[in-house]
């Protein structure tokens, strides 16, 4: 349980960042944060649950209804072999939503790759229509030079510091100094943590007002 993050690079050099969010409904505040500016979505369903179709419909597909109107989706159904549901998923989903549905075992690398490929195949036409694949960062060039210089200075002068990454609010690195690691990953994770902290602050302020 918790927030997962992964990143891979396509053959054309584009980087894809994958964010995983817990599926329990008490974490639904995270869903809105992570789906903001997302290019697509993969939903994993557990067919061994008492009402897997109900879970999928009520919790995820309705929870993400606004997002699914504007972004492609691939749905992976796990444990189908042990609890055959047949075409119920496909028929139900085809009635209400446009999403590719695959039987997957998430322990198998090939199944996971197929799921991601299925999403990416839907993604390309949508990206060409609506969203640029590259992000334009408007930071002044002089500021970027200063940021890089100060990051390197901090890394060399402050004992124990292993990485300094300056990033945009939506998680793209603009300058960095690191002993090891990938600044893009640090930037992406930090932006998610900042967004979650912002929500926690808002919730705490609301609770204080209510009290």
């Amino acid at each position: 349980m918790g927030l997962d993050f992964g990143q891979f690079t396509l053959d054309n050099g584009d980087r894809i960042r994958l964010f995983g969010t817990p599926g329990q409904s008490r974490f639904d505040f995270l869903w809105k944060i992570l789906s903001k500016n997302a290019l697509g979505m993969i939903i994993l369903a557990d067919n061994s649950r008492p009402d897997p179709l109900g879970d999928l419909r009520a919790q995820y597909l309705e929870g993400f209804a606004d997002d699914l109107d504007i972004m492609p989706c691939a749905i992976g159904i796990g444990r189908l072999a042990d609890h055959r549901a047949g075409r119920r998923y496909i028929n139900e989903l085809a009635r209400h939503w446009r999403a590719a549905v695959l039987e997957v075992d998430v322990r198998k690398r090939d199944d996971v790759i197929l799921l991601i490929d299925t999403l990416l195949a839907q993604l390309k036409p949508a990206c060409l229509e609506n969203k640029p694949m590259s992000v334009k960062i408007n930071l002044a060039p002089s500021a970027k030079v200063i940021a890089t210089r100060e990051a390197e200075k901090m890394l060399s002068e402050v004992d124990g510091v292993t990485a300094v990454v300056i990033a945009t609010l939506d998680g793209f690195d603009v300058a960095s100094a690191m002993r090891h690691g990938d600044p893009a990953r640090v930037a992406a994770m930090a932006s998610s943590i900042s967004a979650i902290s912002s929500v926690v602050s808002q919730e705490a302020a609301w609770a204080a007002t209510k009290a």
Binding site: I137, L139, A143, G160, T162, V164, V165, T168, V174, A190
Partner: protein, 51 residues
């Protein structure tokens, strides 16, 4: 914001500029002194905001 990590801590500090809002992320191991890292990060943020 300060976050405990497995091998130390991370400090996250926002920077408001006219052209872009940024975040400074500093990762430190167990030998770092939290107060020193936080102070230097705040100093860095001021420099970057005024640059």
């Amino acid at each position: 914001m300060t976050i405990d990590t497995e091998s130390g801590f991370a400090v996250v500090f926002s920077v408001h500029r006219p052209d872009a809002d940024l975040v400074i992320n500093v990762i430190a191991d167990g030998s770092a002194i939290l107060g020193q890292v936080a102070y230097r990060t705040a100093q860095f943020a001021r420099t970057l905001a005024e640059a």
